[in-house]
């Protein structure tokens, strides 16, 4: 399931619901991304997350489908916030339920790596040193590319 929402999500509620609907799984892995309090030396006051309604959901669905194709039988949940967020707020929740732990860990990591570089979101930090649009770092592209290199190696 994929949700892009302005409203905050309740971690306990979402995790219990996911766990309850996947009692057949041998392993459930979840990841929560939070708004950082600092960016280098600057204090983050607010994070603005912008999206392209409809197309953003499609971009996430493509990433999700690739993860499911790669780890068959894995079920997923992706919730991503948009709008104004405060430091410490959860931005993203990714859960994967699989028969075995390796697939669940890997699927979550794969989805996160591509959410960073391919999902249609734009992030602006309002900080003590001004407003800054955030772009993926070199390391984010490297993380996503590792999966593609591995795909090519196994073909």
């Amino acid at each position: 399931m994929i949700e892009v929402q302005k409203t905050p999500f309740n971690l306990d509620t979402e995790l219990s619901r996911f766990n309850e609907t996947h009692t057949e799984a041998g392993a459930i892995v979840s990841f929560v991304g939070l708004v950082r309090e600092k960016s280098g030396e600057a204090l983050v006051q607010e994070l603005m997350l912008e999206h392209y309604p409809g197309r953003t959901e499609e971009s996430i669905a493509r990433i999700d489908q690739r993860a499911r194709d790669r780890w068959p039988g894995t079920e997923t949940l992706i919730i991503h916030r948009v709008g104004k967020l405060q430091p410490g707020d959860p931005i993203v929740l990714v859960c994967a339920a699989s028969a075995h732990r390796r697939a669940a860990f890997s699927a979550v990591e794969f989805i996160m790596d591509f959410l960073k570089t391919e999902a249609l979101f734009w992030k602006k930090e309002v900080r003590s040193d001004g407003e800054h649009w955030i772009e993926p770092r070199r390391s984010d592209y490297d993380d996503a590319n590792h999966w593609i290199e591995r795909e090519l190696c196994t073909e």
Binding site: R55, V92, L115, K116, L120, F121, W122, K123
Partner: protein, 86 residues
């Protein structure tokens, strides 16, 4: 006439100028449209030409310098700066 959308830093620049992007009969490709935008709003034109900016035509990613793909019948054309989710 297609609707033209901007996101992130491009949206901010477009809103600051507050100028609607209108099409000319010659605006048939993404390359033409980028030139058209640059003539209406030089700051926005400059920002669109920066590395990493992509164009999406009705959900399809099209290179910024594409000069064959027909866009005059498109519904929605969006300019996307580098993304950052998660």
């Amino acid at each position: 006439m297609p609707q033209v959308l901007f996101f992130g830093r491009l949206r901010e620049i477009a809103e600051a100028a507050g100028r609607a992007i209108t099409f000319e009969p010659t605006t048939k490709t993404v390359e033409n449209l980028v030139l058209r935008i640059a003539s209406l709003d030089p700051d926005l034109g400059e920002a669109i030409k920066k590395p990493g900016v992509r164009c999406m035509v009705d959900g399809l990613l099209i290179p910024i310098d594409e000069n064959a793909f027909e866009i005059s019948t498109a519904k929605e054309i969006a300019f996307l700066p580098p993304v950052s989710g998660g």
